[in-house]
């Protein structure tokens, strides 16, 4: 039951883009076409889950025992950068087709604040999900990270769909491009606010 709440909360209620403002740059950058949006979402999903696993372990078994929590930021960003690089190399070797699909998005992910944001959130914030406030254990963290990235994908795909239509419309000159996109995201965020309060 709790896992179900985590998933609903992470995808809809606290959607990472529309409610938490993380990962906006790539969200605006690659959502022009539905196909690139799905590609990017796939890559983000992969990296967020993997990096949360590694950073959780590092924090729990390396930083906390030695009281080095103040090195979190620097350690996590290095891990994420290295991980992205490694995933890129491994994918290239073992699954060229997947690499073809995700490859170009991978280098962009290091500076996607959604990845670092989720990694830091998971080890520093207390979550409730209906029960008592507590720190997330490894399994919960992974479910949370995965669901969050699904939420990212959802927002991205919805937005890309809207944007494909937007491109065909006659928009006032000053609004062309990013401004109208931002206003559209605003309306999308308003729609997602309808979910707020559903899972505490």
């Amino acid at each position: 039951m709790e896992y179900f709440l985590i998933i609903i909360s992470a995808i809809f209620v606290n959607n990472i883009v529309l409610a938490q403002f993380l990962g906006i740059c790539p969200f605006l950058g690659v959502s022009n076409k539905l196909s690139t949006a799905t590609g990017m979402s796939g890559a983000v999903c992969f990296v967020i889950t993997l990096s949360t696993l590694v950073t959780w372990l590092i924090n729990h078994y390396l930083l906390e025992p030695f009281q080095l929590e103040f090195l979190q930021t620097i350690a996590f960003i290095l891990v994420i950068a290295a991980l992205v690089q490694m995933v890129e190399i491994i994918l290239k070797k073992i699954s060229p087709s997947l690499y073809q699909a995700l490859g170009i998005f991978l280098p962009l992910i290091t500076t996607n604040c959604a990845v670092l944001g989720v990694a830091i959130n998971v080890v520093t914030k207390q979550f409730t999900f209906g029960g008592e406030p507590h720190m997330l254990n490894l399994a919960e963290s992974l479910v949370y990270a995965f669901a969050t990235s699904l939420g990212y994908g959802l927002a991205m795909v919805i937005f890309a769909g809207i944007r494909e239509h937007l491109a065909l419309n006659d928009v006032p000159k000053s609004f062309k491009g990013v401004p109208i996109a931002l206003v559209t995201v605003g309306i999308l965020a308003m729609a997602f606010m309808g979910f707020s309060g559903m899972v505490k």
Binding site: F21, I74, T111, L116, I120, V183, F192
Partner: protein, 197 residues
């Protein structure tokens, strides 16, 4: 001298990181619930930007090409952590309000972008000026956005309420208002400064 002034003023309008270059969107949207919050976030970024620009321009000639990105990231992350520690010690209230977005300065594309595009190719003083210019541009945009959202959403200016305790249009303090306000401010900026476009 005038050259350095140009570097500083360039970041304010011509290369405004928020409205023109569209960089660092996440903190721009997330921390501008009020003018004060926007201003603090802008200054925090300015701090990291100036110091990391200076440090990177100093060490750039000695860094091998293939590892320059990891080295820059480590340098930036160091200054961010330094900022975190200082803020926790001396401005704990602001640190709490800005929360997650302080460590996330590390992945703010403005900082790495300036390191890569400017600091690695220029001298320490020029890089500092560039950092100040871009940082001030960022601070200015965040403060303006925060101010607009505060006026519309909470009916106050820098915490001073002019509605006599009544509510403003709350949507502007919440997530949707952030996106919509930024969209409209961008339109305004385009109209004012990019007439030829």
């Amino acid at each position: 001298m005038s050259n350095r002034m140009k570097l500083i003023s360039g970041g304010l309008v011509k290369n405004n990181p928020t409205f023109v270059l569209l960089l660092g969107m996440c903190p721009t949207l997330a921390t501008t619930t009020s003018a004060i919050n926007g201003l603090s976030m802008g200054l925090a970024t300015l701090f990291v930007l100036v110091l990391s620009n200076m440090a990177i321009s100093a060490i750039a000639p000695a860094v091998p090409d293939k590892v320059h990105i990891p080295v820059y990231i480590v340098v930036i992350a160091t200054f961010v952590t330094l900022l975190q520690l200082l803020m926790q010690a001396f401005t704990p209230a602001i640190y709490e309000t800005l929360g997650l977005f302080i460590p996330l300065i590390v992945v703010n594309c403005i900082v790495l972008g300036r390191a890569e595009a400017f600091a690695s190719k220029n001298g320490v003083l020029d890089s500092a000026c560039d950092g100040i210019g871009v940082g001030l541009g960022f601070t200015l945009s965040l403060t303006v956005l925060g101010l607009v959202r505060e006026i519309l959403g909470a009916g106050s200016i820098f915490g001073w309420s002019f509605l006599g305790g009544r509510d403003g249009m709350l949507a502007f303090v919440l997530a949707p208002g952030a996106f919509i306000c930024l969209g409209y401010l961008m339109v305004l900026f385009n109209k004012l400064f990019n007439k030829e476009k």
